[in-house]
Symmetry: C2
Subunit: 341 residues, 2 copies
DNA sequence: GTGAAAGCGCTAACAG
DNA sequence: CTGTTAGCGCTTTCAC
């Protein structure tokens, strides 16, 4: 609530509003000495432009939104979103823009608030994290021509820009690693198939299998929801199929799976080997030394902002597609430190 | 970017802008049938008010800000901020307001961006999380009369509203518990003394000591920074004083302390007992079964929003002070499951 | 109970 | 290079 307006600064500097506006926005076409004079007055008065007025007049607010749908907000308790937000805010600060957070905790909240943000009049653009397939919000944004970048490949709308990690190859690498170690009944606890990441990881698992001439046994695949509890339940069911190794679609689920295993009196990796996905756990403090697929979450966040800014600046076409590589991190849960069998 | 404006809705409904405005803002003084008619048109057109225009005209944006200073952003990797934000967004959604996040990663960033947000013209109010003592941003907000609520008791400015947890009594309980178990050399790895929470916990530790007639030994207290790495270094130094138990000012530091202990060939709780603070770790998956002080982080977040809304509505005076109780959660690291010694 | 009119503080052509 | 002139879309007195 700085008390000064453009008008007053202009008067004090003995110039017009336009000139001050040009100086503030660092536009060319102002004589150096005038520019300096105006800058002085701005400094003295502590003048700061009113964001609302600027947004109204220019249709640009310097604010972007981050939407986290309810399906993903449970992930908010694991380190994924903190990391993501870390990367996003880093980029925002660099570019001097602000970030508004829309976090939905359940379906009701989401549908109720969808309308409010769907006309995102104030926001220059939106980043949409881990949306479900066929998310109505995405359609809204598209219909309203809101600049948009998805975190995670969208299931439709090939014209959308996104940044993602190579889920297919990550899952492939995880599964191939297990196969290479000689496991014969390699199962998979998948992510929700309502998310593209869940689908892609399942596909990677299938490819590794088929490439080695293994047939796909659907009893060896159980769908989870990326949560610890989901991994727990999934593993309990999966046990009926007697897997000797399991590629679990997320570290959190791996924790749940491991809990189920312990309760069943089974040892990791002796009885059942485990590979996770994410590498976000503080591994040295965990009881489970989890082999996993590392993904560069903070970089994804940063890049999402960069891409969004580009989309805002230069329009949505052509779609920007950024895909980061993953990395297999070998610890003990896969049994790699044992002789291969 | 809904294409409709108040004006157009007014025309379609055959009334004036003012009337539509009244309906939209649910103000009294509109005949029921007119109100209904206007509502219909709004529904049909999908009209949504332009936030910037509204903010400009009314000085109310429906957006609040959350500031996380650089000193605390390292905490962003532990579960504290995710929980806090969970609570905050929950309350925001309830009240139909938006949350803008200011997260600073280092001192440079912070001082650079301070000016930008200090005149928080667009924001109806600010929540300030875990600020250092004597934070310049706080002074700015006060000087500019920005509605403000602190998370964590402020070190000065008794006129400020805040919500906090009872750090003093929590620390007292932790230390007393250790003393009660018979430990003779109870040390403390404190939080940074540049944060009130760090100070309060140290005070609680001192009180428990003095109440039992123990003298305060400054060699038994090392200052940490709430991080794992800080706890690690602190414990390495603390070892020289040969503690048989340590009250560690945060769970993250306790993890670091424990790592230092392991490296020194010491067992928890056999050689050194540990009590932490926060209870935010997924305890069942951790190798360290940490006795700790639980604080209701999400509730703190919710309450901060409620208090801020109250401050916005009814002015800053008198200061609202909300203090939540803590709870001692006993696991194995304190040695309580052994015979007392 | 309703409408007319005057801005909120800024940007953006368009002249000069 | 600088100033003038219109608004951006909404709220808010103030008459009627």
């Amino acid at each position: 609530m700085s008390k000064f307006t453009l008008e007053q600064v202009a008067e004090l500097a003995g110039v017009s509003r336009s000139t001050v506006s040009r100086v503030v926005n660092e536009q060319p076409g102002v004589r150096a000495d005038v520019r300096r004079r105006v800058r002085e007055v701005i400094e003295e008065t502590g003048y700061r432009p009113n964001i609302a007025a600027r947004a109204l007049a220019s249709n640009r607010s310097g604010i972007i939104g981050l939407v986290v749908p309810h399906g993903a907000s449970r992930l908010f308790t694991d380190p994924y979103f903190p990391r993501l937000i870390h990367g996003i805010t880093l980029a925002c600060n660099e570019h001097d823009i602000s970030l508004t957070l829309f976090l939905f905790h359940d379906e009701d909240e989401e549908s109720q608030l969808t309308r409010r943000i769907a006309n995102a009049s104030l926001f220059d653009g939106m980043i949409m994290a881990s949306s479900q397939v066929n998310d109505p919000l995405v359609s809204h944004f598209i219909a309203n021509e809101v600049p948009l970048v998805m975190i995670g490949r969208p299931d439709r709308y090939p014209e959308l820009s996104f940044v993602d990690v190579d889920n297919f190859n990550g899952a492939y690498a995880a599964t191939a690693h297990l196969l290479r170690l000689g496991y014969l009944r390699v199962g998979h606890i998948s992510g929700p198939q309502t998310m593209v990441a869940g689908q892609d990881r399942l596909e990677g698992y299938r490819k590794a299998l088929s490439e080695r001439g293994r047939s796909f046994d659907k009893n060896l695949v159980i769908e989870g929801d990326f949560s610890e509890a989901g991994g727990y339940v999934a593993m309990q069911r999966l046990l009926a199929a007697r897997p000797d190794a399991v590629f679990v679609g997320s570290d959190q689920m791996a924790l749940g799976a491991w809990r189920a295993l312990r309760e069943a009196g089974l040892q990791v990796p002796h009885d059942v080997a485990l590979v996770g996905y994410d590498d976000l756990l503080p591994s040295s403090s965990m009881r489970l030394r989890l082999t996993t697929i590392r993904q560069p979450v903070a970089r994804i966040g940063r890049e999402a902002v960069n891409v969004l800014l580009d989309v805002i600046e230069n329009g949505p076409a052509p779609a920007r597609r950024v895909i980061f590589d993953t990395e297999l991190v070998i610890r003990e849960s896969c049994g790699a430190t044992f002789a291969s069998r």
